[in-house]
């Protein structure tokens, strides 16, 4: 299943609800374009909801890191919400769990941007 991305605004935070796979050729470019689009429009608070991401590969992990650094370099903040077990385990394995601000609760995640 390819990646689908739905965007919504909650208290000034852009929440991207991702669903499907973030892999080379199946979502990593979509994610990159979505983040760049938000940054170019001046959005400074971005929350990636990964609750329905059932598969991610090394390319997808790299894309998450690139999204994080792109946002940071532009003075924006990018955080992660609701990791599936697979994504959680891979972020731990690759030590990326230490890089990202991760939350299981959307309200808390939204509040953390203030």
């Amino acid at each position: 299943m390819a990646l689908t991305i739905a965007s919504r605004e909650v208290d000034g935070v852009t929440v991207l609800d991702l669903s499907g796979r973030i892999t080379l050729g199946e979502g990593s470019v979509q994610l990159r374009d979505a983040i760049r689009d938000l940054i170019s429009k001046g959005q400074k608070k971005i929350l990636l909801n990964l609750g329905d991401v059932n598969y991610i590969d090394s390319s997808g992990l790299g894309e998450l890191v690139s999204a994080y650094t792109t946002a940071k370099n532009q003075g924006a903040a990018l955080k992660l919400l609701k990791l599936t077990k697979k994504v959680h385990d891979l972020l731990q394995l690759t030590k990326l769990y230490t890089v990202f601000d991760i939350s299981d609760d959307e309200a808390s995640a939204i509040a953390s941007f203030k």
């Binding site: 080379l24 050729g25 090394s58 992990l61 894309e63 891979l90 030590k95």
Partner: protein, 146 residues
Amino acid sequence: MSEPRKGRLSFRLISTMESVGEVEAAAEKLAADAGLDEDQRFHVTMAVREAAVNAVLHGNEYDPSRHIAVGLENTGKDLVFTIADEGSGFIPETVPDPLAPENLLRGTGRGIFLIRSLMDEVHFRQLHPGTELTLVKHLAATGEKT
């Protein structure tokens, strides 16, 4: 755990992402047929996919004249996967450690690390030209890696 299906399945594919999908699906089926649980199936499928991506993208550089050779086997003791490309060769020791602080924020370079982390054994062989990876998942999990 189901009875192993003896015999090695081999095929040769063109260097496309569609081929990567075929290899991934074949690995998923072999792992499922072997009775691996969901986590183990994910580990096997992901490692094999990463190896196939490396072969197509880094080894063969999407060159339509180059192929990847794939082998899958349930020996009854192990699941054994081989993925070979026809590229200019690859020295795994030259890959930077993706866990090093200076590399943590790099957008690439995690594939080989993931393959090694998710499988029980990983072997590299230079083919001149090309590189062959052999990935092994022990069916009786020992937790030990070689």
